[in-house]
Amino acid sequence: MIRVITALTTAAVLALAGCATDEPSPSASSPASDAAGSGTGEQSKFFVRADYDKELALLGAAPTGPAGKPWEQALNPTMAQTAKFSKPGPYRICFSNAGLNNPWRQVGFKTMQAEVETHRGQIKDFVHVDAEGKDQKQIADINDLLGRGCDALIVSPNTTATLTPAVEAACQKGLPVIVFDRGVDTTCPVTFINPIGGYGFGHVAAEFVSQKMKPGGKVLALRILPGVDVLETRWSAAKVAFDKAGVDVVGVEFTDGDPAKTKKIVNDYIQRYGTIDGVWMDAGAVAVAAVEAFQDAGKPVPPINGEDQLDFLKLWKDKKLTAIAPTYPTYQWRTPIIAALKVLAGEPVSNPWKLPQPTITEDNLSEYVDANMPPLHYAMCGCTDLPGYPQRWK
């Protein structure tokens, strides 16, 4: 009994002490906080220099495709032949969805459903299976869909690495597989659709925050949770930017997407450091909470980034914040349907299909603020022309 307690004490003390000794380098941050060279710690294993360079290059690239329809545009397209998948319609299109467990995916999925409706003649059946955020269930779901007479399979993987074998198995069935949002570690799908990606997002936000604040100022990085690849790449790009700008990242904290936790963390950091000169976030979910924490503490809101969620955009507009909103646009949910129909018609599609990834800035902010839409709606949904707008998204 005493031994157990001793062990526990040791664990507690070690845990506390281990962290307390991070003292000299104020960035008590994720994976290993003791890396001396950079202020933000060791680079994540998700960081792939080549991809990073490629993505940053794409930020400046001009899209090909119909103007005003970014979901049909592609950046630097490299076309893949799809003649072997050509078959007459109407089709049954199946979709294995990682989950519907956050507003981004909800808005995206509604957009996708609306897109399907615009093709009623060609799509006789749209089968949707929700994996509820479970890798294991999604693997089973994909397997299940293989027996349901699908003409094309769309997959939005829950986790890149772990869904790879299942996607490969689906490819082997001879089915055209289209992957979007998160990718898979295999080239077997016909195409992989996503916007520029996490590096672009993280970079744009970090550049903005570090440029708008005083040099060497203190930045607080707020992250949702560790281990999500999309979010990891955003942070790894931000690290590069912050290190280059020489700002002082005083903390990297996980909020679990919980606004209350966010406010507490921000509040404590404000108290601990007196002022925080910039806030970077890997996703917009708790941006409003972070802003409110400054307001409630009676401090000016420092340069901050959010995402294209309307609550943040409204607050930004109303309070005239110094802010930016890089997006991970939900209009990308339209593209897989469009791509699937193209593939089944034998038309070539770009692989990878890189979609433009617009950034909302002070200049174009007012285009996106729509007081009639719900607060957690994503402005960059490209859905205003779709059937059922706006009711479907309310």
């Binding site: 009994m1 157990v4 307690i5 526990l8 004490t9 664990a11 507690a12 845990a15 506390l16 281990g18 962290c19 307390a20 991070d22 003292e23 104020p26 008590a28 941050s29 994720s30 906080s33 519907l100 956050n102 507003p103 995916r105 909800q106 808005v107 992250r223 560790p226 903390g251 990297v252 904290e253 996980f254 679990d256 997407g257 919980d258 606004p259 209350a260 966010t262 406010k263 507490k264 963390i265 509040n267 404590d268 950091y269 108290q271 601990r272 979910a285 708790v286 409003v288 909470a289 409110e292 409630d296 503490a297 609550d311 719900p374 607060p375 957690l376 709606h377 309310k394």
Partner: protein, 326 residues
């Protein structure tokens, strides 16, 4: 009846085992550590805001106390808080005039959920762990279903001020958050209630339901009321939490474990019959202090749960070994 000389000692000679000493000691140690790192933490403005933001979890712990001391569990409070916040946002839809009616609706809704938990547990004989686990699933599912996956509407400023605003310019203290006042009022009520006939009877129900039943206590009724109290406290917590940080599906995530942990830290025995509501609330405050401590000491975000787990296990192990070696 023969009146013998009183053998009962005066009040000052009270013996009170399993009291508040351990939790107070832990809290003091954490506060000292915190003040060493952040000397101004205990300054009035900082302390006021800390207490204000801790109000929801303290309230939940108070509600959970009544359920646990009666020998049951309430795992549904976290999902209830989420549901309440989302429901409030949709009902209010940023319309100030609806704030007060919605507050009433939320309190009624919380009481109703507690009533269902209580009746299913006591009358259908379902262990409360299962009842409230089922309720947890039902509430989360239902609220997502009802709101179509994303919260709708919005909370009015009138509604949010309970959790967010404060009496400004109070002499000496600076500002007093409304949340703190609501907490103090609710805590006072909870303390009164726990010392009332009902409160003491409830402890007896948790300690020995057969004795309680044979002494004329309607055990099922007492337990059901405890669940209702927990539901109402969840409603209050939801009002404050929604006010503090706005509408989100994450609003109540994990709060049930937080509340139960807080109650146990505060010296209340799982299984019932022992403990005080003050201890439970101090337990919640201790947890919140621990979180703040980790923020101020710069404990890596990822390691926080390890520290939390170790400290909880340590505290509970020490107190359980202490009480059993008595």
């Amino acid at each position: 009846m023969r009146i013998a000389e009183s053998r009962v000692l005066p009040r000052f000679a009270r013996v009170r085992p399993g009291g508040l000493a351990p939790i107070v000691a832990i809290l003091v140690v954490l506060l000292v550590l915190l003040t060493l790192r952040q000397p101004d933490f205990l300054s009035p403005p900082s302390l006021m805001s800390f207490l204000g933001r801790s109000a929801p979890i303290v309230l939940l712990a108070a509600g959970q106390y009544f359920v646990i001391v009666s020998g049951e569990f309430d795992l549904s409070v976290g999902s209830l808080v989420t549901a309440q916040v989302v429901v409030a946002a949709r009902l209010i839809d940023s319309e100030p005039s609806r704030s007060w009616p919605v507050v009433v609706v939320l309190l009624a809704f919380g009481a109703l959920v507690g009533l269902v938990n209580g009746v299913v547990t006591t009358r259908l004989g379902v262990p409360s762990f299962i009842t409230t686990l089922g309720m947890f699933l039902i509430l989360v599912g239902a609220v997502y279903l009802w709101s179509d996956g994303a919260p709708k509407g919005g909370l009015s400023e009138e509604f949010r001020r309970f959790g967010r605003r404060a009496f400004e310019d109070v002499p000496a203290l600076g500002r007093i958050p409304y949340a703190l006042l609501i907490l103090l009022a609710a805590a006072a009520l909870a303390v009164l209630l726990s010392r009332s006939d009902f409160g003491r009877t409830l402890v007896a129900v948790g300690g020995n339901p057969r004795t309680a039943g044979l002494s004329g206590v309607r055990v099922w009724r007492a337990k059901t009321i405890a669940f209702v109290l927990s539901g109402v406290s969840a409603a209050l917590a939801a009002i404050l939490l929604g006010g503090y940080s706005g509408v989100s599906f994450q609003a109540g995530a994990g709060l049930e474990f937080g509340a139960i942990t807080a109650v146990v830290l505060g010296g209340v025995a799982l299984g019932g019959g022992r403990g005080s509501v003050v201890g439970a609330m101090l337990g919640a405050l201790t947890l919140e202090t621990l979180f703040a401590l980790m923020n101020f000491y710069g404990v890596s975000g990822a390691l926080k749960s390890t520290v939390q787990g170790a400290i909880i296990l340590l505290a509970v192990a020490v107190s359980s070994v202490r009480s059993s070696s008595r």
